[in-house]
């Protein structure tokens, strides 16, 4: 990057907020070889706007960055350009506990936010993998969710409005403070899950919930995967769980290694109920009656189980890394998909685990192969993708750079879709500087990306 541009950035941000240091750049990169030219740390939306105007004039790619905990899933490696690190924009602008909203800057960490919300017995029901460090803006951009998306939906259900800096440098506001609001096209939800491809979220109006009176986790151990599937199906159909997770034997063994050791071996089902005391008690009673081996957990015991559940991928992946794929199939096809996928994985001889947000019909497939060695598992993945497809579902690989499966899925939406997506991209980003490495649009703006 030209020195002159660095100077201009320093003028906008102050010299301490524009970093070209190797280490810092490396920490904001997604591969060993491709690094950004500089990392900037704006302190307010006006600075973000000024940086984007400059980048637009100079044709420099810009990529927003929160805590970086999810970046690998949504971004491809990119050489050059600017990283806009938002963690210095971390204030609560307004906590209106009476209306159950909080207007916050995008860089506030979720841990900090939840601590503040708890003073009035409220919380923001988004629980990504790293619930302490990750930023609110990152959660929104990544369309984050946790196990409770069964009960409450993913992050787009928990935001009411945004302040967004468009790549043109314009600062716009979407939505507002009320739950009902049809003034503008719903860009608030549209930007959720846009992975930086359209603009930079600088502030968000969060919709909060009261902390439930009671919350209970129930764990059900099963010798056979088939039994666990049948139980999960019945529990989804007969009760109203907030979270419903199914873990196969391999996944349960990883949770053991992650420090949570329920006595039994085999598959497991984790269920959460929350709400009013009498309601939770009667739901839990229902489960205990039908599954006498169920263990009821509250407070620390429950927290330990969920902490281990969040560690599933990192512990499975270890030092050497792992490929993670996601499948979605109709609820009624879950049994067949899980059973046949497990058989397929056993035949492949690879270390592999299945963990499912069962109630949402979403299955994570973990494969013991480094993402760089994806070729080694590609055949297995392709078979599983065909299986999902045959059952009316789809499969994508979350943490590799090959977007072929995704592109095929999107293209099947109709031949006009790519053109429409390009026009939408241009409406937000006429100069095409915004996160060209965002997986969400990479296969639209550059065909060759699909087959990289």
């Amino acid at each position: 990057m030209r020195q002159e541009i660095i100077h201009k950035l320093e003028q906008i941000l102050g010299s301490g907020n524009c970093q070209v240091d190797q280490d810092i750049r490396r920490r904001h990169s997604l591969s060993k070889t491709a690094m950004p030219d500089a990392v900037v740390y704006p302190e307010n939306s006006q600075q973000v706007a000024a940086v984007l105007k400059l980048a637009g004039e100079e044709g420099i790619p810009v990529v927003p960055w929160g805590a970086g905990t999810m970046a690998r899933r949504g971004l491809l490696p990119l050489a050059g350009g600017l990283i806009i690190n938002l963690t210095r924009m971390n204030k609560v602008v307004e906590y209106d506990y009476e209306n159950m909203t909080a207007y916050v800057e995008a860089g506030i960490s979720l841990g900090e936010l939840q601590k503040i919300l708890r003073t009035h017995n409220l919380y923001w029901p988004v629980e990504p993998v790293e619930p302490d460090t990750c930023t609110v803006g990152g959660c929104i951009a990544a369309g984050a969710s946790g196990p409770s998306k069964l009960g409450y939906g993913d992050v787009k259900f928990h935001i009411l409005g945004l302040e967004v800096v468009l790549p043109t440098g314009e600062i716009i506001h979407t939505g507002g403070k009320t739950v009902k609001n049809v003034q503008d096209y719903d860009n608030t939800r549209f930007l959720a899950g846009s992975w930086g491809s359209l603009g930079i979220i600088t502030r968000a109006m969060l919709k909060l919930r009261p902390v439930p009176e009671k919350e209970t986790t129930v764990f059900l151990p099963f010798k056979q995967l088939a039994e666990a599937i049948a139980a999960a199906r019945a529990i989804r159909n007969e009760t109203l769980p907030v979270a419903l997770e199914l873990l196969d034997g391999a996944a349960m063994a990883v949770l053991n290694r992650a420090g949570w050791k329920p006595a039994a071996e085999g598959s497991g089902v984790l269920v959460v109920y929350n709400g009013f005391r009498e309601q939770v008690d009667s739901q839990v009673d229902y489960v205990k009656k039908h599954y006498p081996a169920a263990t009821v957990m509250e407070e620390e015991a429950a927290a330990a189980a969920w902490q281990a559940r969040r560690q599933l991928f990192p512990v499975f992946a270890g030092e050497s890394g792992a490929v993670m794929a996601s499948a979605a199939v109709p609820f009624t096809a879950m049994e067949e998909f899980l059973t046949r996928a497990r058989d397929e994985l056993d035949r492949s001889g690879k270390e592999a685990a299945l963990a499912s947000h069962f109630g949402n019909c979403h299955v994570h497939i973990l494969l013991g192969e480094a993402p760089e060695a994806y070729d080694g598992v590609q055949e297995t993945i392709n078979r599983l993708a065909t299986l999902a497809g045959d059952l009316g579902g789809l499969l994508v690989v979350d943490n590799i750079d090959d977007l072929a499966l995704t592109r095929r899925w999107v293209e099947a939406r109709g031949k006009a879709i790519m053109e429409l997506l390009s026009r939408i991209k241009a409406a937000f980003d006429p100069r095409g500087i915004m996160a060209p490495n965002s997986k969400v649009l990479a296969y639209v703006i550059d065909n060759s990306r699909a087959a990289s």
Binding site: T178, Q183, F190, P210, G275, P330, V396, T406
Partner: protein, 464 residues
């Protein structure tokens, strides 16, 4: 302009019996449920997506405005063909294509009414949650177009929370599939978000995939009476602050209470300044305590009388009262204007007071209904369209109400849309850059500006 050649083409696409040009027909389609109108040049009944595609291609090549229309109950002019051109009537695309109970999904054509869907899924113990008061006649396509809400919005959300996919004809006639039945796991943009609530600007939905919800197992319904609207408004926030999220929290003022009682004779408290209709639902266990807590909170906030519905008949009566409110008010004056400005919940008492003040200042009768739990007002301003001077006062009251709602951190519209009726106020809600951006976004979908153009987002020149 729609010339004879265009009419011939339209006949070729949909058949002669489905192309209407008689004066009577054109007059019939000048209106929706708002106060604006405009005459179309031709009405076309369609049966499938291919026909719509062909019509849009034709319209695009000749720059003819197109207005999609469902039940025509829109309250903001969304279904009004103010630029003339073609009105595409969707009501004959009215098949329920699929009900998949265990997957909790239904697929419908856009002309299916909300009520038809409700009735079709009820035998499976399922509900399609959005329930606009117009559900008997409003269509799923119109609900999608407006992101309609209903009485259960506070707990169960709006149309956008329950439509997960669609088949969409773009303005250039191309057909695309948006969203779908599956959990969205692919790395792609969520176009559902933009299209739901886009007032027929961004495409015409020809199939709609809906999420169904297991019917709540039980409910408790409470009626609380108050001396003043403000007391009722304060109660609303107090209930939510206790961590209770009712499925319904509706408010009616004295005018509405009396209009309904005069009509239905069901024993509403005619002396009350306001009533709240409150319902909690879900798992049976725990509902009694919630209802007791709610009744306690009502009393603490000035309720003069609080009743728990003792049986299904009592509950049905309360619901009938609420659902009949608009019709009842309609009996009091030749015209009414129903707005839906929405404010953060805690600002309810303040805006209710303001509406009262406006009613006096401009000497207009205003009945007040509200989806109070969402801060969503429905003031009904009564007037006679033939009285020009009165009409001017109505316009002034509307403007003052929107100004106040925005000043209180609220919005021009909670669920009825901007359309034509609120277009001029968009400049109060958004700055020129924001409006320009929304216009760019609109043009990305409809570069030729034929699809319900001139609505929702004001033109840039007037915006600047």
């Amino acid at each position: 302009m729609v010339d004879q050649a265009t009419l011939n083409e339209l006949v070729k696409i949909v058949g002669r019996e489905n192309v209407l040009t008689s004066k009577v027909s054109l007059n019939t389609y000048m209106y929706d449920a708002s106060l604006v109108y405009g005459q179309p040049e031709v009405i076309v009944y369609v049966q499938n997506a291919q026909q719509i595609s062909a019509i849009l291609k034709l319209a695009g090549s000749k720059k003819i405005p197109v207005t999609p229309r469902g039940g025509g109950t829109c309250l903001s002019g969304g279904a009004v063909p103010q630029r003339g051109g073609i009105v595409i009537v969707m009501t004959r695309m009215n098949r329920i294509l699929e009900i998949d109970p265990e997957n909790r999904i239904a697929v419908v054509e856009p002309g299916v009414t909300n009520m038809e869907l409700q009735k079709a899924v009820a035998p499976y113990g399922l509900v399609y949650m959005p329930d606009p008061a117009s559900q008997k006649v409003s269509t799923m396509g119109g609900n999608l177009g407006e992101n309609s809400g209903g009485m259960r919005g506070i707990k169960y959300g709006l149309t956008k929370d329950h439509i997960i996919g669609m088949e969409l004809v773009l303005s250039n006639g191309e057909i695309v599939q948006i969203g779908g039945k599956l959990e969205p796991i692919a790395q792609e943009l969520n176009l559902n978000a933009l299209i739901i609530g886009s007032e027929g600007n961004l495409g015409i939905a020809t199939k709609i995939i809906c999420k169904l919800t297991p019917a709540p197992r039980a409910n408790r319904t409470v009626l609380a009476s108050y001396k003043t609207l403000e007391d009722a408004g304060t109660t609303v926030s107090a209930i939510i602050a206790h961590g209770i999220i009712p499925c319904t929290l509706e408010l009616m003022d004295n005018k509405i209470i009396n209009a309904v009682e005069d009509w239905l004779h069901i024993g509403l408290p005619v002396d009350a300044g306001a009533i709240l209709l409150i319902e909690v639902d879900g798992w049976d266990a725990g509902l009694d305590r919630q209802a007791q807590q709610i009744m306690q909170i009502c009393r603490e906030n000035g309720a003069t009388d609080v009743k728990l519905a003792q049986n299904a008949r009592e509950r049905d009566n309360l619901w009938l009262a609420r659902r009949s409110a608009i019709g009842a008010i309609g009996r009091l004056a030749p015209n009414y204007d129903m707005e839906d400005a929405t404010v953060p919940r805690t600002k309810l008492p303040e805006i209710l007071k303001e509406v009262n003040r406006l009613s006096q200042e401009y000497n207009l009768a205003i009945g007040m209904l509200a989806h109070a739990g969402d801060g969503n007002l429905h003031p009904l301003v009564l007037f006679d369209e033939r009285n020009k001077e009165q009409m001017e006062r109505v316009e002034k009251v509307r403007a003052a109400l929107f100004r106040k709602a925005l000043d209180l951190g609220g919005t021009l519209s909670g669920e009825h849309g901007i359309g034509l009726a609120k277009l001029e106020f968009m400049r109060w809600a958004f700055n020129p850059e924001e409006l320009q951006f929304l216009r760019r976004e609109r043009l990305a979908f409809d570069p030729g500006e034929i699809l319900n153009a001139g609505k929702t987002v004001p033109d840039t020149d007037t915006a600047a």
